[in-house]
Subunit: 218 residues, 2 copies
Amino acid sequence: MILPHLSVLNSKRIVLASGSPRRKELLDKLGLKFEIVPSIFEENLDKDDYPNCYDYVRQTSIHKAKEVFARLLKQRSPDAMPHIIIAADTIVEHNSTIFEKPSSKENARSTLMDLSGNTHAVWTAMTILVVSEDGKSVQVEKHVLEKTLVTFGILNEELVHEYVESGEPMDKAGGYGYQGLGFQLVESINGCNFNVIGLPVHSFCKTMVALIEELNWR
Amino acid sequence: MILPHLSVLNSKRIVLASGSPRRKELLDKLGLKFEIVPSIFEENLDKDDYPNCYDYVRQTSIHKAKEVFARLLKQRSPDAMPHIIIAADTIVEHNSTIFEKPSSKENARSTLMDLSGNTHAVWTAMTILVVSEDGKSVQVEKHVLEKTLVTFGILNEELVHEYVESGEPMDKAGGYGYQGLGFQLVESINGCNFNVIGLPVHSFCKTMVALIEELNWR
């Protein structure tokens, strides 16, 4: 969807506030040129402060974007500031519980057995900041929030054991990597596929096109 | 799902009867070892002979598998025959019409405008042949048939023009490549994501596990 707008977007300095290799790969595939400045926001918001998991994930993405903006404001001269900062956060939710990275192999095993044969939700929130022309403040702040339902096949203990021993689950929210070996656990999805790996491509593109029109960028 | 069965499967000679780089990539990712012998079946079945598009795609996958089996039977000694031959065919269906590779840029443009803002179906049929121990006949024939619904965003003519000019649509059923630039056209999917790029991973794994049990392979 941003194909006809690439020359406009690539005339801007864009920062991706995420170290995720999959997010980088998806933005690369869109043809965007950008610099990577991973957020160092600690992702330590108290989940109990948020009535819904999507408020939690949205707030985390806002904090990630603003942390990078504030840090660059200190480090860079105004004319080296980015025009656009893009941040994202992804969580897995099942039965009103937010699943994060497993704390242990045992925890990874029990999470995967919880998800077995069931449908869970993957939420990604994105925050897009447009920096003012003088490089000193945020001019526009846009949000994307996307939910995809993921249905697992029925997993048996032998499979879960082998998968956990592969090491892949340990640094993944929900204990599986859809972009890795974990792809064979998934029976079907309902929604944006790319959301599951951390960047809801179609919604992101729509938001960027709306932004270009709103700001009358040419 | 086939993770615990890899050593059994990889003790067999497996042939993938498809030249599709995406199918190769997905089987590689599963950890399977296999040889590629693309089918030269002409894919010229008369659609009018089939009451449903899924009968058509299934028959094409059967012909692809059997063409490779027959060819290898002529070329190889019985002890060099594969144990397993895997073939697949994928089609796009919208409003009871089967979309194949565009015949021209104009045809690609009109197909994409037809799909714009609508939901179409992607069907993949797989045929898995197990060759008898003497290498001379087909012992078991298994089929996988999977449908995934794909919803396009609303495309405008400028976008479709740029996308067609990129060259990507011309060798793709339905005029788009989900694995390429076309990924940004897709708003959501319902079903197996990998089916859209030509190999329904979860169903294939389930079928292979059932086959191992049925044949008591260890």
